[in-house]
């Protein structure tokens, strides 16, 4: 079996979904951790320092390429799988009761993922673009914290960000344990632990992310 055969097989595609999914999960820990520096409430001094390191250090910038590659692979593969899976049932049931045997969020990974993708595009346009322009134009006065403060003055943006976080929550709530099943880990002792870990992870990460725009909008953080 060649690599090409492996990665174009149904299970091979699942492996790349799970692998990139877990990679994105690791990234979110770093992302949530760094952004949580705003909660120090020091006018963003610490946060800006870390953000500057992340955007200027060459190791980080190299890893960023991997991050984008992983995200794009995950999103494109996910959307292709979604399309292919819909083709596997060309005629729909006239009457179906899927809620009798599975959870709505496990059946909605494609929709949740698409919402996430839209959110990520909005999010990048808010913060990534500005940071890059500053980096390449050599602008040393760029203040990411202030940019956050400005963006989060608009109530609509807060609502959109909260929608993004909610989509993320359900995507992670199913995706975390799903990735381990995809890797072939199903165990009497470890599977319940993995599920607990995934739930805890999804709750903590999403609470942190939700709190950031809210705290800024309500001026808890300055």
């Amino acid at each position: 079996m060649t690599f090409k055969h492996f990665f174009t097989s149904s299970i091979g595609k699942k492996f790349s979904m799970a692998f990139t999914g877990l990679f994105l999960i690791l990234f979110l820990i770093v992302h949530a951790g760094i952004n949580s520096c705003i909660f120090l409430n020091d006018h963003g001094i610490t946060f800006n320092k870390v953000a500057r390191f992340m955007s200027h250090n060459w190791i980080m910038r190299f890893m960023e390429i991997g991050l984008f590659a992983g995200l794009i692979l995950h999103a494109v593969q996910g959307l292709l799988l979604w399309k292919q899976n819909n083709k596997a049932r060309p005629v729909a049931y006239q009457y179906n009761q899927p809620s009798k045997n599975s959870s709505w969020y496990s059946r909605s990974m494609g929709i949740l993922g698409t919402l996430l993708l839209l959110f990520i595009i909005l999010h990048l346009s808010h913060f990534y673009v500005g940071t890059k322009i500053a980096l390449y134009s050599g602008d040393t006065t760029h203040n990411l914290f202030k940019e956050m403060d400005d963006v989060f003055k608009n109530l609509w943006i807060i609502v959109l960000y909260l929608c993004g976080v909610i989509a993320l929550f359900w995507h992670l709530y199913h995706g975390f344990q799903s990735a381990f099943q995809t890797f072939g880990i199903h165990h009497k002792k470890y599977t319940p632990l993995i599920k607990m870990l995934g739930t805890g992870y999804a709750i903590i990460i999403c609470l942190l992310f939700a709190l950031m725009p809210i705290a800024m909008y309500l001026n808890w953080i300055q």
Binding site: S10, G12, L81, Y93, K100, N101, S102, H186
Partner: protein, 255 residues
């Protein structure tokens, strides 16, 4: 449980052949006993249709005791109807009450094309088995059962996987029309045992390749298959299929 009779409205999928489009037809049946099986109720309906000079409804069945896996009916939005761990032939009319409307459809999957009414072609499953769901041994005298020691745990797991009757409810239920539970069970039942060891690698690779060729969808771990499987086949078998495929696929040196 008390015995009772009921009048029912049935909406049944009628489709002349694989090419024609089908639709739901409405039928009424009267005085159905709560002791009848679902298929016996269909026999009553078909008798009625024959007397009326209409074409009886084609449906698959064989053993009528829950072991052959033929009785594929999607009943009120669930494979094999509302009872868990159950086939259509073992579904009894006491699951319904007087005045109920029951919708009956065939399995819907591009890999299980409808042949007529409720009958689908599940030979895609047979082709997956032909691709590797066997062990190659010389026939002859049966080997002494205890000649080859097998861990009790493995024997139990292989036995539980072997309970799969190939009914296709997992595919019919899965939103992706994925056959992973079936293939997982068939790979597990052999790969867990020493007799399955020589063909272990080629088995999983060939069976998955055939599964993909047949046009089944990709698993997204909704676990709906496990909930609807009449034999309670565990998704642990899908995990085992995944790891068998991962190891075989990445370690295999053939091009």
């Amino acid at each position: 449980m008390e015995h009772y009779h009921m009048n029912l409205t049935l909406k049944v999928w009628r489709q002349k052949n694989a090419k024609m489009k089908g639709n739901l037809e409405t039928y009424k049946v009267k005085d159905i006993s709560s002791e009848m099986s679902f298929l016996e109720m269909f026999d009553v309906l078909n008798e009625q249709l024959i007397i009326e000079g209409k074409e009886p409804i084609a449906f698959d069945h064989d053993c009528r005791e829950g072991i052959c896996g033929m009785c594929s009916m999607y009943i009120n939005g669930q494979a094999h109807g509302p009872w868990q761990n159950n086939t259509t032939c073992q579904l009894h009319m006491r699951a319904f009450k007087d005045g109920d409307t029951i919708v009956v459809e065939p399995w819907r999957s591009s890999a299980f094309p409808v042949l007529k009414d409720l009958v689908v072609d599940r030979s895609s499953f047979d082709r997956i088995i032909q691709a590797g769901g066997y062990i190659s041994v010389n026939t002859g005298n049966a080997v002494d059962a205890n000649a080859m020691p097998i861990d009790k745990k493995d024997a139990d797991n292989a036995f539980m996987a072997a309970a799969c009757i190939g009914c296709g409810a997992c595919v019919a239920t899965c939103k992706n029309g994925s056959a992973m539970l079936f293939v997982g069970a068939k790979v597990s039942q052999l790969s867990l045992l020493p007799q399955g060891e020589p063909e272990r690698e080629s088995r999983v690779l060939n069976m998955v390749a055939q599964m993909d060729k047949e046009g089944f969808g990709n698993c997204t771990n909704t676990y709906a298959c496990e909930a609807e499987c009449p034999k309670g086949i565990s998704i642990a078998n899908i995990a085992r299929l995944n790891s068998e495929f991962l190891i075989a696929g990445l370690s295999n040196e053939e091009n």
